[in-house]
């Protein structure tokens, strides 16, 4: 399935600017994403992470600067051709932060079948693929249910299944664990950890530092529409000054038994060296 392309980078973002109305969401951002890696985009609310994902998914296009996918520029004109659009859509999948946005079909089956159906797969292949992914995500029993009657964790799994069914080469995840209870969260993370590999790239946005080392091999810290830092998760998480600057951590103030008030940055480095 996964095309073997010689370039080392799936995405190359060069000097990209994008604004909503007059507010700049991305302000001359540049970064390169290596093939087959699990990437975390870290940033506080409003740092431009979600916008970047939408641009990587070619739902919006940069005002200035450019994005290349496997060396080919992603431009509005290119998406006028069905062949290119379908090829891109089946290779890059985006899971939106809100399942309400992601789940717009009357039943779970229709939801998961939507992408293959619109990418023109034959009927028998759609049915087989949907059945397989529903089983893998442990939601086969929800097949005929309407999405609005599912719990938050179930909705998230259906949303993931609706994208994973295409078996995309690049998976873009916008805050995949936001608003989930701990059990659903760990299930989603387990699924994502088992899904990677095979030359597939996973890009996840999050502001939950506790997750980063589980879901990423490499991470970027975004701040005000730019890359503030990048590196291996361990290095980035140790740079307290950077994290504080990017609003990813806050001072944790508490009183010791001796009566001394002590203040230190609140981090959860889950390192087990």
């Amino acid at each position: 399935m996964v095309g073997i392309v010689s370039q080392a980078f799936v995405f190359e973002v060069r000097n990209v600017t994008y604004r909503y109305e007059s507010v700049a969401a991305l302000d001359g951002i540049s970064l390169s994403i290596e093939r087959g890696k699990r990437i975390a985009l870290l940033g506080a609310n409003g740092s431009g992470k979600s916008t970047l994902l939408r641009l990587l998914n070619a739902l919006h296009f940069p005002e200035s600067g450019g994005i290349a996918f496997n060396g080919q520029p992603l431009a509005r004109d290119a998406f006028d051709q069905d062949a290119f659009a379908f090829a891109f859509r089946s290779r890059v999948g985006l899971v939106f932060q809100s399942p309400e946005v992601q789940l717009f079909n009357p039943t779970v089956f229709d939801e998961v079948a939507f992408a293959p159906l619109h990418l023109g797969w034959p009927r028998t292949r759609i049915e087989a693929a949907v059945a397989e992914i529903l089983g893998k995500m442990e939601i086969a029993h929800l097949r005929d249910r309407p999405p609005h009657r599912l719990s938050g964790g179930e909705k998230k799994r259906v949303a993931l299944a609706s994208v994973l069914v295409m078996n995309p080469e690049v998976l873009l995840l916008d805050e995949p664990t936001a608003g989930l209870d701990p059990r659903s969260e760990s299930q989603i993370i387990d699924m994502l950890m088992s899904w990677g590999g095979d030359g597939r790239t996973v890009i996840t946005t999050t502001h939950d530092l506790g997750l980063v080392e589980d879901i990423a091999d490499y991470c970027f810290v975004l701040q005000a529409g730019k890359v503030a830092a990048e590196g291996l998760p361990g290095e980035v998480l140790r740079d307290v000054a950077l994290l504080e600057r990017a609003n990813l951590i806050h001072a944790h103030r508490h009183r010791h038994a001796s009566g001394v008030i002590h203040s230190h940055p609140h981090t959860h480095p889950h390192r087990h060296d």
Binding site: R89, N105, P106, F114, L119, H148
Partner: protein, 586 residues
């Protein structure tokens, strides 16, 4: 003053119905406030009092008769709102059961005597007796004047309604279609009697009852009916009821209440002319009057008046209980703020949807049929219902739908609450004027067709998950875009409903006490604004999510049904039923 059927044009009747309905509604809302007190028995007493007092016919100059209404005393004791209800109940029972006043003219009569009478009497009494102690003679005078003015303003309104008919409604030859006398005759003729005898009768009744209450039940005059007992009042009523035969003090009917036969009989023609300032009636019964006058035949007559009075009182007590029940249902809304009301209806909507979805998932006869067969078959039956010209055929299909519903686990209560009542309310509004214009038969067709079609649709929706209904529409060659829009609308109604619920609950958690109407309006406007904004945002994001998964402007829907032999049998049954109904019904 009881305008009969045929004296007012259907348009005038409809206008006056429209005029009186807001007062009934307002009265119901206000009356519930007094439900914990004695409002129920008091309402019955005064409705019955008004009913009986109207049977005391007094001779008027010119040979016709007149009567007091009792509206003065009702407004004084009950207040204007409950008084409107009491008088209206009496008038309705007279019209429906005793043929006194027309069915089409109930709106007009309730407006004249109930609304105008109550408001005039209450205002007059309050203005004069405002600071007077309960036992003050000023209250007696105030009551007398209130009664006098009330009945005369009511009579004036009735005279105007009758008098404008010949100006507005004539046939090709210029003959009046409804009431024949113009304003110049109607007003003097009507007022002559009411300014004198009837007015005096109402004065005596109002003043007399107030004087009586000052001694026996002064608490009733204080507005707070708390400790008062209605027992002595009922006793008085019974005596009045027994006296009613002597109430027929004069023969001859009241001005403007003649039957079609009175137009033709020489003796009655002479009497009517005398009461109308010497103006003869037209030689022919007005065409519109004759048509409408046949509309309703009352089941009872006043002929033996004691039983009539007793039957009337029993009916009135029943009607008052119904009003109380109605008012109790309104209560839930009355006490709630905008936030509460909206929250309640949102909750109810989602409960309804959840409950409907529960039925679709349960086991039953109809749940097992292929949805495409159901959609096609029930559509065929709806076509047959629409085409049927026999009430029996419509009734037959209705019974079939009913039987299917029961076999599919849909309770009668659900059908009544979700299908029949809303449809009846809606088509009833349309059917009411149709009764006037084309007769009750066409109204029966209208309601019958609407209810049967709605039951069939309800049967489909309550036994089939919405998603399957959509897919069946798709496989029956309904355009995919249409199906997708229906599906998404249903899907996102829940989302927007939940957003609205969250917003209002957040608001409620920060609100203590009740909001002023202005605050409510502001809150409603801002909630709607935010919802609209969120909906736009949502629709933009959903479009992106669709694009992200390959949507290129053309929507596809996957149909996954396989029809079995059983389904083909059902389809055959539907086709046969619809075909039979079309053949029999046309």
């Amino acid at each position: 003053m009881h305008i009969p059927d045929g004296y007012l044009s259907p348009a005038t009747c409809a206008t006056l119905y429209t005029g009186v309905v807001p007062f009934w509604w307002g009265a119901l809302r206000r009356v519930r406030r007094g439900l914990h007190t004695q409002m129920v028995p008091l309402l019955s007493v005064f409705a019955a009092f008004s009913f009986i007092i109207m049977m005391f016919n007094l001779p008027l100059p010119g040979g016709t008769t007149g009567h007091a209404v009792g509206v003065g005393i009702a407004a004084i004791v009950l207040g204007p709102w409950a008084s409107i209800l009491a008088i209206s109940v009496a008038l309705m029972i007279q019209a429906i059961f005793f043929g006194d006043g027309g069915i089409t003219a109930i709106g007009a009569n309730c407006f004249n005597m109930g609304v105008i009478g109550s408001l005039v009497a209450y205002t007059t009494y309050e203005l004069i007796s405002r600071d007077a102690p309960v036992e003050s003679p000023r209250r007696v005078w105030a009551a007398g004047l209130a009664g006098y003015l009330a009945i005369n303003f009511s009579a004036l309104a009735a005279a105007i309604e009758l008098g404008i008919q010949p100006q507005l409604y004539r046939d090709a030859t210029g003959a009046a279609l409804y009431a024949p006398y113009p304003l110049s005759i109607a007003i003097p003729a009507m007022m002559a009697g009411h300014l004198t005898v009837a007015g005096i009768a109402e004065t005596v009744v109002s003043a007399g009852v107030v004087a009586y209450l000052q001694k026996s039940q002064p608490s009733l005059l204080r507005g707070a009916a708390g400790g008062a007992t209605t027992k002595p009042l009922w006793l008085v009523l019974m005596i009045l009821a027994i006296l009613t035969p002597f109430g027929v003090l004069a023969m001859g009917s009241a001005w403007g209440e003649w039957s079609a036969g009175d137009f033709l009989h020489p003796e009655t023609r002479r009497q009517i002319a005398a009461a109308s300032g010497g103006n003869e009636l037209p030689a022919q019964v007005p065409a519109g009057l004759q048509r409408l006058a046949r509309l309703w035949t009352a089941p009872l007559r006043y002929s033996s008046q004691v039983p009539a009075a007793i039957v009337g009182m029993v009916l009135i007590i029943g009607a008052c209980w119904c009003i109380v029940l109605l008012a109790r249902r309104i209560r839930v809304r009355r006490n709630m703020s905008f936030v509460e009301r909206t929250l309640t209806s949102l909750m109810r909507a989602s409960e309804y949807a959840a409950s409907a979805e529960h039925v679709t998932e349960s086991r039953g006869l109809f749940q097992k049929i292929d949805p495409r067969v159901k959609v096609a078959g029930l559509l065929l039956l709806i076509v047959a219902v629409a085409a049927a010209r026999e009430l029996r055929v419509i009734g037959g299909i209705f019974l079939f739908a009913l039987a299917m519903a029961l076999l599919s686990g849909i309770s009668l209560r659900k059908l009544a609450a979700w299908v029949w009542m809303p449809v009846l309310l809606f088509t009833g509004l349309i059917a009411a004027p149709a009764i006037l214009v084309t007769g009750p038969r066409s109204a029966a067709f209208l309601v019958g067709r609407a209810e049967t079609a709605a039951t069939l649709v309800g049967l489909l929706v309550l036994t089939t998950p919405w998603a399957w209904v959509l897919k069946s529409l798709r496989s029956l060659r309904c355009p995919a875009v249409f199906v997708a829009i229906l599906g998404m609308t249903y899907r996102y109604i829940f989302e927007i409903m939940r957003t609205a619920l969250d917003m209002l609950e957040a608001r409620r958690s920060r609100t203590v006490g009740t909001l002023t109407p202005l605050e409510s309006r502001r809150l409603a406007a801002s909630t709607v604004g935010v919802l609209l904004n969120k909906s736009f945002q949502l629709s933009g994001d959903v479009h992106l999510a669709m694009q992200s998964r390959g949507f290129r402007g053309e929507i596809h829907v996957l149909s996954e049904f396989r029809a079995r032999t059983v389904d083909w049998c059902w389809l055959g049954l539907f086709v046969a039923l619809a075909g039979g109904a079309l053949w029999w019904g046309s």
